[in-house]
């Protein structure tokens, strides 16, 4: 860093701390998916297809989550139905 750099305002966070924040988020996200069974994405798609037979929904309207606690696993399914006219 030369003398001229000292005049530049340095308000933005360093690129290394941005990198660390981004990594912590993505790594935590990927770790949470690591223990989910391989069939989950396909099951999600099939559930969406079944619901679509009856109601018009988008892919993002079905959230599926598997949570493991000590002695049981909970499959959480959250379907957002469109507003009725």
């Amino acid at each position: 860093m030369g003398i001229f750099d000292y005049f530049k305002a340095k308000k933005t966070p360093s690129s290394a701390s941005v990198a660390k924040d981004r990594l912590q988020i993505i790594v935590a996200h990927e770790r949470s998916k690591r223990h989910q069974p391989d069939y989950l994405p396909q099951m999600q798609q099939e559930i969406i297809d079944v619901i679509r037979k009856y109601v018009e929904i988008g892919n993002e309207d079905v959230q599926i989550q598997l949570e493991n606690t000590d002695d049981c696993s909970v499959l959480e399914l959250n379907v957002t139905l469109p507003e009725q006219n």
Binding site: D5, S15, A19
Partner: protein, 269 residues
């Protein structure tokens, strides 16, 4: 029984082969009979880094396919006593490796050697999975850079779920973080992830930090493992890492910025 150590990373170009060569040589220098196996079938390079590329006659795949015996394929290192190299095949592909074939070779090597270093190919596919499957310990080579850290975390997940130890429910693979290509100057000005940043994210014990060093390229140009260059920071840092791997305590070195003179700092550069 030999201890099987995989050197792995997920991402390519982070220094797996350089580290395998350095660490394997370092262990052998301590008097332990060591073999380094190149698992990068189709893209072998350990032979070049170790400077024995012209002595390769038979390779790992030949031994698996029983076209050659182990003693025909093993190359004895000319510089370091107690060190051998098992080169990868350059003409086959990764499908030439099978669990049974690899196991048979490792079992035979285990009778004669104390340490088996498996130099993994990049990626998370078959070759990389074969290299880590039988491991007792893993050295995860990581650069202080986002894609490398993410890939290291991914490979840690595979070590914990797809290794033999995981499948058989045995004690998990010992994990070691080796941070390479580290620039203390860039860390100091916030341009590079620090050792602590990477430790925080990956949460595995640190084996060592290898500073970015001209000596690494110089060593690979000459086909000499960089650990033999005991004048270089990288060589000394690898020696420390090997000592730690053997259970000795060594303080971290070469992490501080070297002080620049007043004028150099004033003028920049």
């Amino acid at each position: 029984m030999a201890k099987i150590i995989v050197v792995t990373s997920g991402k390519g170009g982070v220094g797996k082969t350089t580290s395998s060569a350095a660490i394997g040589t370092g262990i052998a220098l301590k008097g332990h009979k060591t073999v380094i196996i190149d698992f990068d079938v189709g893209l072998r390079n350990l032979d070049l880094i170790m400077g024995c590329e012209r002595r390769v006659v038979y390779d790992f795949v030949n031994v698996i396919n029983k076209e050659a015996t182990l003693s025909q394929a093993l190359i004895k290192d000319k510089r370091t006593k107690d060190l051998f190299i098992l080169p990868a095949s350059q003409t086959r592909d990764k499908d030439a490796l099978t669990i049974e074939g690899v196991q048979a070779v490792l079992d035979e090597l285990s009778e004669e050697f104390e340490y088996i270093i498996c130099d993994s190919p990049a990626g998370i596919e078959k070759g990389a999975q074969m290299a880590l499957y039988f491991a007792d310990a893993a050295i995860v080579v990581t650069n202080p850079e986002v894609s490398s850290v993410r890939d290291s975390d991914r490979i840690l997940g595979i070590l914990q779920s797809k290794s033999r130890r995981a499948e058989e429910g045995k004690e998990p693979i010992e994990e070691h973080l080796l941070l390479t290509r580290y620039h203390p100057e860039r860390v100091a000005i916030g341009e590079m992830l620090s050792v602590t940043d990477v430790e925080d994210i990956l949460a595995i014990p640190l084996l060592g930090v290898i500073p970015e060093s001209e000596a690494v390229l110089k060593a690979s140009n000459q086909g000499t493992p960089v650990i033999l260059d005991q004048e270089s920071e990288a060589g000394l840092a690898y020696t420390d890492a090997v000592d730690r791997l053997m259970g000795e305590e060594r303080p971290l070195r070469f992490l501080d910025v070297q002080k620049k003179g007043f004028f150099k700092r004033l003028l920049g550069g």
